[in-house]
Symmetry: C2
Subunit: 131 residues, 2 copies
Amino acid sequence: MSNPIQKWHDVVKLRDYNTLTEIIHDDAIFYSPVVYTPQKGKDITLKYLIAASEVFNSSSFKYDKEMIGENSASLEFSLTIDDTDINGIDLITWNNDGLITEFKVFIRPLQGVNLIHKMMQGMLESFKNVS
Amino acid sequence: MSNPIQKWHDVVKLRDYNTLTEIIHDDAIFYSPVVYTPQKGKDITLKYLIAASEVFNSSSFKYDKEMIGENSASLEFSLTIDDTDINGIDLITWNNDGLITEFKVFIRPLQGVNLIHKMMQGMLESFKNVS
């Protein structure tokens, strides 16, 4: 079974959104750390993942503990934004073709969730102004 | 290497806090989904884990995706409290003796973090009144 995690790391490191497009399934679902409602479909999943990549793009961002299962992975990350320490997990699931079908983001502590929420709203708003 | 995850599942299922005491390291650290400051030491880690077990004790609580590495595990869970759907991850690390040295909890969405925060405060407060 093909595993998209190395490619995902390349996407994050290089902000390579062409590669990102290649590894997301057409029916992918994005689960935000803030809102319960699943964001369904490749287009909206890409929009959220690109916005998140831009928001999280910081010299302090790093992945910590990684656990990789048969068709899912748990990637812990940490970063600091404006003196707020943020810790989170990307829980990624893929199909037999190595395409990402689910992408869930968890963030702690509460102050970090609130800061990321605010920054994500601003980033998604800026996309609207471009398109 | 001994792995405490099966014992952890017994603790959760049976609310068996004697077994919990056996699998927590003296220098264990608990990381809350709400507050950044690590809670250091076995006593406070036990207090938080027991409070969490009581708060999360619900017929709807279940573990979903589990990924187990060499000395750490990522256990996704879900439950519903008062019509609020809550999704989270227990990120558990242990030493060579199979004793839990770190226990981190991540919760989504924001509404779930706020609800668990309120319920944990109430539960920890009730412990104070007992002791």
